[in-house]
C-alpha cells in the first residue's frame, strides 16, 4: 500500500474534443482499432450512429448512420473479433445487431421490451471468455432479458416482476462470472436501489440487496473470471464495491462504499488491463479515477463459523472536471492502456489519455 506521490499520480489528459450535433448517450471503442462509435439521439427524434477514427489530434468522421428510433446503448461484447457487429438498444425497446459495413438491414432484430432499453451488455465475444455469445438488456418496463443472437424472437432468459407486482425501472445490467461454458451471472440495478444477481446456470436469484439510492451503473471487474468484485454506482454521489468471492448465507457480500461527490455517478468502468482500477463519471462533469486495495485477508469466519467476506478500501488516484454537464458514458480502449472516450450531455465526445497507469 504505497502512497502515491504527487508527481507520480496518473494524469488525465484531454486529447481530443469533438462537438456533436446530437445528444450522445453511449460511446464505444471498436475493438482492435483506433475507431470509436457514438450512439445517440438527434433533435428530430431519430437515432444516430457515428463512426470516428482518431487521427493525430482530431477525430475524423468515417460514417454516419441514421435510424428511425433514438439509440440509448450499444455493445460489442457478444460478437467475434472478425465480425465486430454492434448490438444496440433503442428508445422503443428494440434490440438490433448491426453489421457496420452494411447497416441498412440489421443482422438480428427483435422488439424485446415495451419501453426504452436503458442498458445493454454482451458476453462471449471478442475472444474473451468462453461459452455462447449472449446479450442482456434491461429496460424501463422492469424486465431484464438475455438474448442469444442465434435464436430469434424469444429471449433465452427473462427476469420479470411477479404477477401483479408494480414494476421498477431497470437502469443497468452487467454480465459476469463467465469463466467457463456453463457459468454465467447477470447483475441488474434498479431505480429503487435494488441490486439483483441472477445465476443463469441455475436460473435463479443468487443474491439481492438494496443500496438506498437508485442504481445508475453496475460492472464486474472482469466478465470472464470467477466473479471477483462488483462496483455499483448510484444517485447522490455514492458507489459501493462488493467483494464477490465469499457469500455469507444471510449477510451476502461484503462491501465498501464511498461518497465521491454530491451529484449522481452515472457510469463506472474498470480498466481492462488492470481490474483494480476503475473510473467513475459524475453528474457534475467530473471523472474520478479509483484504485481498490484488497484487505490482508479476504475472508474471515464469523461467530457461527460461516465464511464472511472482508471488503478492502478504495483510494482516489485522480479527479478532473471536464464539463459542466453530466458525463453519461465512458469506455476504456481494450487495446491501448489508458486511452478512453467519454460522452457528455453537452453534446461533446472527448478522448482522454490517462498517464502513468503502469506505475500503479
Amino acid at each position: 500500500m504505497s502512497a502515491i506521490v504527487g508527481a507520480e499520480r496518473p494524469q488525465v489528459v484531454s486529447h481530443v474534443q469533438q462537438a456533436l450535433s446530437y445528444t450522445v448517450f453511449d460511446c464505444k471503442w471498436v475493438p482492435r482499432s483506433a475507431r470509436l462509435l457514438c450512439l445517440g439521439s438527434a433533435a428530430r427524434g431519430t437515432g444516430i450512429v457515428q463512426l470516428y477514427e482518431l487521427h493525430g489530434a482530431r477525430l475524423e468522421l468515417l460514417r454516419e448512420i441514421e435510424k428511425p428510433k433514438p439509440i440509448k446503448c450499444g455493445t460489442f461484447g457478444a460478437t467475434s473479433l472478425q465480425q465486430r457487429y454492434l448490438a444496440t438498444g433503442d428508445f422503443d425497446g428494440n434490440l438490433n445487431i448491426w453489421n457496420l459495413e452494411a447497416p441498412e438491414i440489421p443482422v438480428y432484430s427483435v422488439k424485446g421490451h415495451k419501453e426504452i432499453i436503458n442498458s445493454i451488455d454482451g458476453v462471449g465475444g471478442l475472444g474473451i471468455g468462453e461459452g455462447a455469445p449472449e446479450i442482456v438488456t434491461g429496460s424501463r418496463d422492469g424486465t431484464v432479458k438475455v438474448w442469444d443472437p442465434r435464436q430469434n424472437d424469444t429471449p433465452v432468459a427473462s427476469m420479470e416482476p411477479v404477477q401483479g407486482e408494480s414494476k421498477r425501472d431497470c437502469w443497468t445490467v452487467a454480465f459476469g462470472n463467465a469463466y467457463n461454458q456453463e457459468e454465467r451471472v447477470v447483475c441488474a440495478g434498479y431505480d429503487n436501489g435494488d441490486i439483483k444477481l441472477f445465476d443463469l446456470k441455475t436460473m435463479s436469484l443468487r443474491w439481492e440487496t438494496n443500496i438506498k439510492n437508485g442504481v445508475c451503473s453496475v460492472e464486474f471487474d472482469r466478465k470472464d473470471i470467477n466473479m471477483n468484485k462488483l462496483v455499483a454506482t448510484s444517485l447522490e454521489g455514492k458507489f459501493h464495491v462488493f467483494d464477490l468471492r465469499t457469500q455469507h448465507p444471510t449477510k451476502g457480500f461484503a462491501s465498501v462504499s464511498e461518497k465521491a461527490q454530491k451529484s449522481t455517478i452515472w457510469q463506472v468502468r474498470h480498466l481492462p488491463q488492470n481490474r483494480d482500477i476503475f473510473m467513475t463519471s459524475g453528474g457534475s462533469g467530473s471523472l474520478h479515477l479509483w484504485k481498490y486495495e484488497y484487505p490482508a485477508q479476504r475472508s474471515k469466519k464469523d461467530s457461527e463459523g460461516s465464511e464472511m467476506g472482508v471488503a478492502g478500501s478504495v483510494s482516489l488516484l485522480q479527479n478532473v472536471t471536464l464539463s459542466t454537464q453530466p458525463i453519461s458514458s465512458l469506455d476504456w480502449s481494450p487495446d491501448k492502456k489508458g486511452l478512453c472516450v467519454c460522452g457528455a450531455f453537452d453534446q461533446t465526445v472527448r478522448v482522454l489519455i490517462v498517464t502513468k497507469l503502469n506505475k500503479i
Binding site: 493525430g56 432468459a157 427473462s158 416482476p161 421498477r168 437508485g214 489519455i353
Partner: protein
Amino acid sequence: MPVWLREHSWRQTLTAVYLSLPLRGARASPSSIFCSEQYLKVSIPPFLFEAVLYAPIDDTNSTAKIGNGNIFFTLYKKEPAMWDSLTLANTDKEKLQYLRENAVLKAQEKAKEETEARKITKQEHKKYALEATMKVEEAERKRIEDLKEKERQKVVKELELWKNQQKHGDKYKSIQKKGELYQEIEPLKERKNEKMNKTRIPNEGTSKTRLKSTKGSCSIFSQNLKEEQLPAPRAAATIKVNFTPRVFPTALRESRVAEEEEWLHKQAEARRIINSDLSELEDLKEEEKNPDWLKDKGNKMFAMGDYLGAVNAYNLAVRLNNSLPLLYLNRAACHLKLRNLHKAIEDSSKALELLTPPVPDNENARVKAHVRRGTAFCQLELYTEGLQDYEAALKIDPRNKNIEKDAEKIRHLIQGTMQIS
C-alpha cells in the same frame, strides 16, 4: 482698513524680477502669499501688500523666500522684456477688482488641475503594479501549461505509434482474409461436414482436442470450428423477481426519504379520517360531511337552546377537520351552558392554541375564548386563573365594559376570600 506695505524695493533683469518686501515685524507663512500670473498679494493681517504686475509672470516657477523679516520674491517673466515699473499704472478700482477675482479663479483652477494630475499619476502607478502581478501569475500559469502540454505530446506520439501498428496489422489481416476466402470456400464446406460427424461423439472434451490438433494453416478454419464448439442456445426460462416495495414511481434518493415519509404520513392521516367516518356514518347525507355546514347547524341549535345537539354537531365537525378554531370555541360555549366546566376549559384552550398567531383578525375570537375560559375557571372557584383570563381578554379588547365589570367582581371576590383566610 488694512495697513499697506509700501516700502518694497525691486530690481530686474531681462528674464526675472527680484522683489524685496520688508515685513515690519509681521510673521509670514506660505499661506499668506497669493500669486497669479499678473497679480501678487501678501496678506498678513493687518498688513497688506498687493501689486498688479506690469507683465505676466510664470507663477509656477517663481519663488518666494521668507526670512530675516522680509520676503524676497524671484519672479520669472513670461516674456523677456524690461519693465518700465513693477506695477501697472492707471489701475482703477474696478479693474483692480476684476484682476483680483480673475487671479483667484485662476489659482483655484490651477489647484484643481494639480489635484487631478496627482490622481492620474496615482492611478497609473496602481495600474502598473497590477500589470506586474498579472505578468507574474501569467508566467506561472504558462509554466504549468507547458508541463501539461509536454506530457500530452509525449502521450500523443505513443498513441500515433500504436495506431500505426494497428493499421498495419489490420491491413495485413484483411488482405489475408480476402485471399483465403476466395480460395478455400469449397474445401471448407467439405471439411465442415466431416467435422460435424466428429462432434457427434459424446465426449466433448476429446473431440475438442482432436479438432484442435487438426487445425490447418488457415485461420478461417479454426474460427468456424470454434463456432461448432459453442454450446447451443440456453433453454428458455423465466426468473420471477420481487422488488423492494416503493410507493413513489420516482427513483429512490436518500436525501428525499424524510420528505417522502412525511408526505405518506399526511396521506395516511387524511385517509384515516375519511375512513373512520365512512365506516360508521355511511348513511349521512353529503352536506353532513362538510364541517362548515355542521358548524352552522351547531350554531343554530345553540341559539335554540339545544346544547347537547350542538355539541354533537361540533363533535362530528371536529372529527372531519380538527384544525378549525371556531368549532372548539363554540363547543366551549355549549359546554359552559351544560356546566361541563373542564371540557369548556379544554376546548377554549384548544381554540386559543389554534388561534396563534395573534393578529387583529382573530381578536374577537380570542376575546371570546379568554372570557369563556375565565368563566369556567370562576365557576370552578379557581378565581386567580379566571382573573388571568379576564385580564388577557381586557388586554386584547380594553374597551369592553362587561369584561371590566366581571374582572372587578372577581378581584373583589379574591380579596374577600383572602381577608377571610
